[in-house]
């Protein structure tokens, strides 16, 4: 593989940092609408950086992946979620399980852990994006943390989708993306998953009059 132009590599590192920053702001954001907007922004950066990789490495299938991101994660999913939030009147998240400074500190710890874990592996990669594998893992772990600390159903789903973004970023940064069939399958699963969750929101609302998952804590060992 020829040595890549440094500008591209710098730009990609910049985008990766942007993705991580958005993950952190998601962690601290309690308004559901803003959370979904942040998710759309994360998708946008992912789209731009994937396109850049596709352009600089000259890979056609990555262009398709980029298009898939644009349609699914920048336009379709945020729109579905925003409409759901509007129809369900679920604008605010309730108090998270942990307060925000503690969550942020935990997040920093996770990022360090992710970098440590990814270090030996990114040393083996031959792609121009190899330095970003640690960031991808960090995004996955931060999304995981968000799912654990939030009680609102919409926030948990945004966390889930943000985790998917991290996975996608990992796939492009370590291997220039998975084969197309697999990516299409993954995209389909995500879309169907969100639709099912949409149905779910209504069912939960119907039963509990709120999307607060506090209510979903009755099944215990007894």
């Amino acid at each position: 593989m020829p040595t890549p132009p440094t500008v591209t590599a710098q730009l990609l590192n910049g985008f990766a940092a942007g993705l991580l920053l958005i993950s952190f702001s998601m962690l601290s954001q309690r308004r559901t609408r803003r959370l979904i907007e942040l998710f759309a922004w994360q998708g946008t950066i992912l789209f731009v950086s994937t396109s850049l990789v596709a352009y600089s490495a000259g890979l056609r299938h990555l262009w398709y992946s980029a298009a898939l991101i644009l349609i699914l994660k920048v336009v379709l999913l945020p729109l579905i979620l925003l409409r759901l939030v509007q129809r369900l009147q679920a604008q605010w998240d309730t108090e998270p399980l942990l307060n925000i400074p503690t969550t942020m500190l935990l997040g920093v710890g996770l990022v360090i852990f992710a970098f440590g874990l990814a270090q030996p592996i990114s040393a083996l990669a031959t792609t121009i994006t190899r330095n970003t594998l640690g960031i991808a893992l960090a995004i996955i772990l931060l999304a995981f943390l968000m799912m654990i600390t939030r009680r609102n159903a919409v926030s948990q789903v945004v966390g889930f989708l943000s985790m998917e973004n991290g996975l996608f970023f990992a796939a492009t940064s370590a291997t220039y993306g998975m084969p197309m069939v697999v990516e299409l399958g993954i995209a389909l699963d995500v879309l169907v998953g969100v639709l099912i969750l949409g149905i779910f929101f209504f069912q939960i609302r119907e039963q509990f009059d709120s999307l607060d998952l506090h209510n979903l804590e009755s099944l215990k060992e007894d």
Partner: protein, 482 residues
Amino acid sequence: MELLLVLGVPLLGALLLAVVGHRRSAAEANVLVSLGTLVAAALLVARVMRHGTMLVWREQFFIDPFNVFLVALTAFVGFTTALFSRPYMRIEEHRGRLNARRLRLYHSMYQLFMAAMLLALLTNNLGLLWVAMEAATLSTVLLVSLYRTRASLEAAWKYFILCGVGIALALFGTILLYFAAEDLLGSEGMSALLWTHLDAVKARLEPRVIGLAFVFLLVGYGTKVGLAPLHSWLPDAHAEGPTPVSAVLSGLLLNVALYAVIRCKVLAEGSIHGVPGRMLMGFGLLSALLASFFLWRQRDIKRLFAYSSIEHMGIITFAFGMGGVVANFAGLLHMTVHSLTKSAIFFAAGHASQTAGTQRMEGIRGLLVLSPSIGWGLMLGALAILGLPPFGVFASEFLILTTAMRDHPWATPVLLAALGVAFAAIFGRVQPMVFGETQSKPLPHSPALLPVFAHLLMVLLLGVYIPPALAEWYRLAARLIG
């Protein structure tokens, strides 16, 4: 051709039932489609027996003795569960817990779930395996919440989120595996995701990457197997979903997820010898022991047997972790008998709780007076799952225990403790449900108990005598797993 039928029949059935699933005869249609799948699976088995391992459709599908045996088992239990669900769901509808629209959803998703599991078993592409596992989760989420009660919604939400997170971790593991293989197999086409290609180069894969990849794959797919500590979705989903769904979740989905784990283990063993096996043994023992103690605290009949599934999955995982032909043979046998016995128990337990009008075990009494066949079905099923001779579970557990004594003596007391605690817990609860007095009334539709006794009879036969063809098949598969 047979392969196309195996995948196509349930898929077309799902589409058909999505349109006509609300009709009165949809339950019969569901049975017919499942029968069609079973016939197709039998044809596939016959073909593999005649011609050996198959690799078809640009190597996207790979059929060897290991997965063809699971395909046959999946199609068979899928068929008997459809037989059971016909009267069971009628009774539920009769009692007003379900309506025609929800039954349409149920029938269609049932077939989609079967198709997803069969795809997961048959594909050679680890990426497609992931997609199929996720599809199997998605198709059952709405089935778990079919009753739309608070508890069932909670169970379905937990199921979705936990398995979603688990499966996301498995995807990361798959990406890492692809990354490790890309250098050797090239990124053109899908070579680096095909199991057969990976298997050929597994000794040369980078150990550090494979180690990390296997951890993610094990935790990810392990969540769906119900391995502790990520098992908490399993009892909820089993208890709150309709009983036929509990039966296929326990009897089939767990097996398919375990199949995925084992395929990954075979690859990982190539570069990091022994480590994946020890990890499987550890997770397996932990699950078996934890589940057997949780059994004591259960009041709900379906939760009780859901925990028993975790225990048995733990034992099977332990067996595959030990490795070697004997342990793998025992693991495969145990997979078969567990899936047959556990689905039979869920059938009987489902009818038992319908008769009593509650799933709480205090409320279920005197089954023998009320309906001797349900009572005996539950009692025999419980005895079989507890590993009493001459049932097949005894044979496989005996093999696993003796292998453990020889190769890993430290694990034997843990295994024995788990089995003993589980025995006392389950027997102590089933006994008063079956015997004793009652005021409940018999069911409005006659229950389908043919599947219960057919399954138990097969488990009994497997305990006494394994047909040479089947034994040969297990042996081939056991050798493949290594």
